[in-house]
Symmetry: C2
Subunit: 173 residues, 2 copies
């Protein structure tokens, strides 16, 4: 079985990074609970939004992300049974490309370079399962689409959902 796994908000914790940077720089107390149903930038005062939206263009942003809980253990098991590819819509941020490659080397060394995809849109992927937190990425996929829960998508009911990596393990191992 060929499984595609998104990076940001599926194996890499971008919300956590946005909140940490924002709180430190603006001396705030934002947390992920406050962000439920929204993007992080939507939950800060208007005068701060541009700053948050530009986090992703900063050098090091994608290199320093924490892995999502249990993603390493479950993906390791999955990759022993299936063809697991990482597929990230990274081309929007050219600064992220090498950082994402280095980040995978550190946190997911069992996913070799041949199984990594940095792309724009994901309509071109051919396989059995796509795990992603953005429904617009799942829309045109011809296989099984699994929406991975992230604060921004909690009100989206259009796809089969996994709330965490243990639920992925139950579904696919």
């Amino acid at each position: 079985m060929t499984i595609f796994v998104d990076m940001d908000e599926v194996i890499a914790d971008t919300y956590g990074a946005h909140i940490k940077i924002y709180n430190a720089e603006f001396n705030q107390q934002l947390n992920s609970q406050i962000c439920m149903g929204s993007e992080v930038w939507q939950k800060v005062p208007e005068g701060h939004q541009e700053s948050v939206r530009l986090h992703a263009t900063r050098k090091g942003f994608f290199r320093d992300l924490n892995p999502i809980n249990d993603s390493q253990e479950v993906l390791k098991d999955l990759s022993e049974k299936h063809e697991v590819y990482i597929a990230s819509a990274a081309m929007q941020f050219p600064n992220s490309l090498e950082e994402k490659s280095n980040w995978l080397d550190e946190h997911f060394p069992f996913i070799p370079w041949k199984k990594r995809i940095l792309c724009g849109d994901k309509h071109i992927l051919f396989g059995d399962v796509l795990i992603d937190d953005r429904s617009y990425n799942l829309e045109q996929f011809s296989g099984r689409s699994i929406l991975f829960t992230s604060p921004h998508n909690i009100n989206d009911n259009s796809y089969e959902r996994a709330n965490n990596w243990f639920e992925i393990a139950d579904k696919l191992l």
Copy 2:
């Protein structure tokens, strides 16, 4: 129609770059005619091979390549009629990722980031046409596979061939 186009040796002249660097550094007279049927590194003395094989790991190598003759004009026309994606097996060289993105910005600005794919193997691509100089990339593609002529593949008869970009135009425009 969805068309995938490889980068190295299809729209980006890596042979020319290898030969230019090698001739300058070793004071030689290598040319692409001598390389017919071979990789560049196979046509230099054994003591020079390692140096040539490491060209691709140098900073700037992929940023400074010349576009292949007529690729810009024909791809521009193709991209107005079809869904054209650039698909490069670039993940082997993490140093190349941002350089390839910047190179496309300069030479193929009409191919937006959403239509760029940096991947490992190409079995995961879902579309109608794949244009590539490596038959191992064409092998598992389910659509029409076109082998783009490059010195190393002149003796390969396993696929429909295009010798230059005008032949691609004849086939697909």
